[in-house]
Amino acid sequence: MGFKNLKRACFLKPSLRKLGGLATACLAFIVLTYQPLWAESPTPESTESAPESILSFSVVPRIPKLNMYPCTDCHTGDKDYNNQERILKEEHVEMATHFRNGDKDQRWCHSCHHEKDYLHLTAQNGQIVTFNEAYVVCGQCHGTILRDWKKNIHGRRVGKWVSPAEAQAASCTECHNSHGPKFKHQKPLPPPQLPRGKKAPSQEGHKKEH
């Protein structure tokens, strides 16, 4: 019965008016409190996008730049998932810098990488994050740096200075090697020419003469 018919029915039969009012109230209640069924059970996708949404700026996507991604290129079947904590000797040996490889008291691969799903990282609270949001994982220990990064004091921005909307933040792993985050020493570019007749100071630098 349409709303118009219901109204007409109520008009025609005053005894039904009470019932019609109740029906309208029920309808309004259902409309106001209606939620789709899938709102009750969030999918992994909605968990992943959660950290991004709390930031006031966007982050440079990291996944397109990864060399060995997706991991499923090599890890194809169940037999390729050996999650036993051990010292790695054949593969990923060079990545053992940031954690003590095989030391039980320290971090190892699955402190950050998800145990079952190699395409994702995992935080200590079980939150699943993509490689684009590595800052969630790094920030668990490096909290003060994450705080500075969110304020745009630490790290780099790509784009324009005009507003946060026109710039993208470089994620931690854009500059730092995630498996050895300390900056590597590097050869500096050549020093400036000495003015004619000036002798180069010693590499120890100037000493105060008084």
Partner: protein, 313 residues
Amino acid sequence: MVDEKKESRSSYLLERTLNKALPRRTFLKGLAVGTAVATLTPAKTAEAFSFSDFFKKHYKELSPQEKTAMLTRIEAETKKRYGIDVKVEDPPPMDGVEFVYCLNLSKCIGCRKCVYACVKENNQSRDPQIQYIKVLEMPKGSLDVHEGNMYYDHEDVPQKDKFYMPVQCHQCKHPPCVKVCPVEATWKEPDGIVVIDYDWCIGCRYCEAACPYEARRFNFTDPKIPTEEINPNQGYLSNRIRPRGVMEKCTFCLHRTRKGLYPACLEVCPTGSRKFGNILDPNSEVRAVIQHKRIFVLKEELNTMPRFLYFFD
């Protein structure tokens, strides 16, 4: 007899000239042209100066039409001289914007990437070498610039017990260089950048002596830049190719920053030590740095009020 005739003739001519009402304007024009010819011809520098260039007004008095004509002229001159097409613009300062630069001394590793990015962006002379940024290697525990060494050449940086302090133009709020300029060829723009009009500069180098940060450079010769390395996006007050005998210095890349881009030195920095933005915007990164970090002002006691600040983590 003949002499007498001559004398009377010349006196007659003189008298006639003096009595003739020669308009003052015409006289001055003739004088100006005469002076110009006298100045230009013997030195054979006629190609370096055009007539309109020589008699142009001060930058601040130019009308928009005159400015456009001037920029077109510079483009044509660059084409004639270096054989490449360049675009010379003069972006105006943005409203409600004052630039501030912050540099993290705890992060800088002294790799000198900023120095060479700046040279390339700003069309600085490669030989003789002109560089706006000096990276000082300093012993830890001191902020005395006299102990710094800008000629360090190690196999790798950062060195142990050393920190690195890049110094460039501080864009002072009270700029000593502007105060000493005898011809007003350098001035402070509304967005805080101290600029030089290379066409107005007479090359007296007073500003170089006045600057406490050693930020100003002098073109002793015509700048030598490989043609393929010339940056074609040029600004009148910033990175257009300078003539010989004028001063130049860092302008926070105003041809970029006035369009919203970051300066070249910031974009190339691998450590993210450099922070740039609008101090008047409460959400800007420089505002965050000033609110949350310890700031060091180089030579604060001189009351130059620099817009270039150092900070520590």
